[in-house]
Symmetry: C3
Subunit: 299 residues, 3 copies
């Protein structure tokens, strides 16, 4: 199954009907109708009801992936969230499961969702994105993703991992700084582990929503690390982030020229060659192919 | 059981009676009477005898946690160190176990210590802090801490992990630099793993004991990463380190205002809100609560 | 068995007889006759035949370790590569196995090679160096190296791990930058894991082969992290890299003086002492001993 990157992933509180309706006019790779942390405790029921109703009524032609984030399994609210969502005629394209801390939580989720899916007529597979946002969740991430991979089938596909940096900081007692130096290990472990299972990796949120320079810098850094996208909390962040997670014209040109040079050298029997002062062989060609593939899928 | 951070953890060689007696007038979260690397090979017996005698004679009202560091299990000296310490009327509040490389070492330690504890009348639980200071110890840290967690009970509680940076550098062949860039992976893995098991994480020592500016900088960096404290090798380092590992007045004020704003928004049904230019929801509130809790426990 | 570091590890395409013959006059710790990524697809058979013939004909007195890199197990070409190499009278001192992703690949390799070795008269053990260059390979590195350790015996010894950075970047979707910030987690995990099993760790290649300043800087950084050597793709890189991975005169002097001071203090019963403004005890002495040992082995 083809999987498209969620370069920007925008949260909208599920209890805020006015903001949800704005999705109609929005252009974004992924919009998340939120039942979890963006919703006040006394609005949890409201949120899931509003989301269910919006799923059937809202038309969002500019949103490539319309998702719902339920509450975590450990919160005890996930079951009711899911039951409500499955009352909708039109399911979200993705369900997001936050604060995953064990493969048992994945197993519970899979069982619950597949039981609902089996009652519906055949359709496109439901996509799932999970969150890593605690110390124990990060420690067990390999086991958790192995379970996700095992559970993926024609009806349900685990597609990505979101790094929930602020919950993670709270979990390990770290203090968020502008350059996120304190999160380097966690971010790069999330990328490497997600990619080991062929999954997307979605980077931390930049909460200072008026600082577009800082946002661009952190987005580009995340893209260089291998993240496929970034969480956003304001519509103004979308174009900056989506551009940062798309290959630049310059990179695309570099990739095209490199691949062309490689093919010429291969034909003459040369496996390694000098390209603009760098010694190039297969691994760099694979990087160039990634760039062209990414440029194509986003176009 | 309540656990108090060891912001500064000062080593005193167990063979140096003069320095041990100075603990009487010292103010520090944790003082460690050392049997291990701070003691010359020909003074190992002296050190353990002196420490046993000091345990019963020394009154240190300004030392919150009076600890003993025994030699490692693999050195073959830990058994005699423990036997001597358990002859004292008054046990240390914490035993520190260096160079832990396997859960088998934890099991041996637990068996040995619990057998001694069972012979004594009931008392406060003995606290244990272990050290990660080799490549294999770091690799197995998750297994080791899982064993520590399993072994903790009403008599014995594993409370923290110390990162022994200089032994670790020797183990992996790294060279210590001022900014400790070469240790980033190890330090952040230690924090994340310790916190996954609810344990304290105590950062590397700053051996250049005359450079208080560098010490402060590295202490603040460690605190931002989530370490709860730092090893010190000179009394002059204590106030700098303890201040760095305490929330600043400014941070406390920020946390109080944020929590107050959060509660107001929750009451009106808003889960996410703009606070001083940042979009805030539950995860940042958890960080703010951490700060206030830490301020309280250190006061 | 004594193991000598491969400070510089130079690749030469196995299909390029002219370049292979230049090894006769070269001074380098390790030269790798390559069957893998440095060889065009239509030259794979050529490369292995040329290498087999060179193994018996080429005399390279300045090459400490003459190695062959076969294709990966997953490529399906490794078997034929190995069969051809084992036809040579004189085996390479080291076989390099790229893109290892599971212990099953190690097991296949060990079985295949040992079966060949058993047909030959007794000799020095064949050394093996494996490569980590994908997300899944990095994730499973501990398991893979445990298997390597288990398989090592008098005939076959696993001696090192190479970090294949460009394949790794392609695998996780990262973009290579000059300071390699995006690879920090992977590089330091490779070092720590290799050292946990007593193996060498060989750092990423610097493909910009005309920039000797950048090469030196990255080499020194790798050496500080604990890497024992670095891959090179041009003979001009060899002296810069081998110098960077050797202790400087200044470091050797520091180590000698520190050890001498330590021994004097030990004799007088002091375990920790002030040395040039730093508080020194056993761990720093271990680092100093590493330096002197490394200086000796490279001399």
């Amino acid at each position: 199954m083809e999987t498209k990157p969620r370069r920007a992933m925008l949260y909208v509180p599920g209890s805020d009907e006015r903001k949800l309706k704005k999705l109609t006019d929005l252009e974004v790779d992924c919009a998340v109708m939120d039942c979890e942390d963006g919703v006040a405790v006394n609005k949890k029921v409201d949120a899931r009801n509003t989301i269910r109703s919006m799923l059937d009524r809202l038309s969002c032609p500019g949103v490539r992936d319309l998702a719902v984030r339920v509450n975590s399994v450990s919160s005890g609210l996930a079951d009711e969230d899911l039951m409500e969502i499955f009352k909708a005629e039109r399911l979200p394209s993705t369900v997001m499961l936050p604060k995953v801390e064990s493969k048992a939580e994945v197993q519970w989720f899979v069982k619950t969702v597949k039981s609902q899916l089996s009652k519906r007529s055949s359709q496109a597979p439901l996509r799932v994105v999970i969150f890593t946002e605690t110390a124990i969740g990060l420690l067990r991430l390999p086991d958790i993703l192995e379970e996700c991979q095992r559970a993926s089938d024609a009806t349900l596909v685990f597609e990505g991992v979101v790094f929930g940096s602020d919950d993670f900081c709270a979990s390990i007692g770290a203090t968020r700084t502008a350059d996120a130096h304190e999160l380097l290990y966690a971010r790069q472990k999330v990328v490497a582990t997600a990619k080991a299972f062929g999954m997307q990796a979605i980077d931390l949120v930049y909460i200072d929503f008026k600082d577009s320079v800082g946002l661009e810098e952190q987005s580009l850094q995340g893209a260089r690390m291998g993240f496929t996208g970034k969480q956003v909390i304001h519509p103004n962040q979308i174009p900056i982030v989506q551009t940062a997670f798309s290959p630049s014209e310059e990179r695309i040109k570099w990739a095209q020229e490199l691949i062309s040079a490689f093919e010429q050298h291969q034909a003459t029997g040369k496996g390694a060659f000098d390209f603009k002062g760098s010694m190039i062989d297969m691994p760099t060609v694979l990087q160039a192919r990634n760039i062209l593939k990414l440029a194509e899928v986003n176009s």
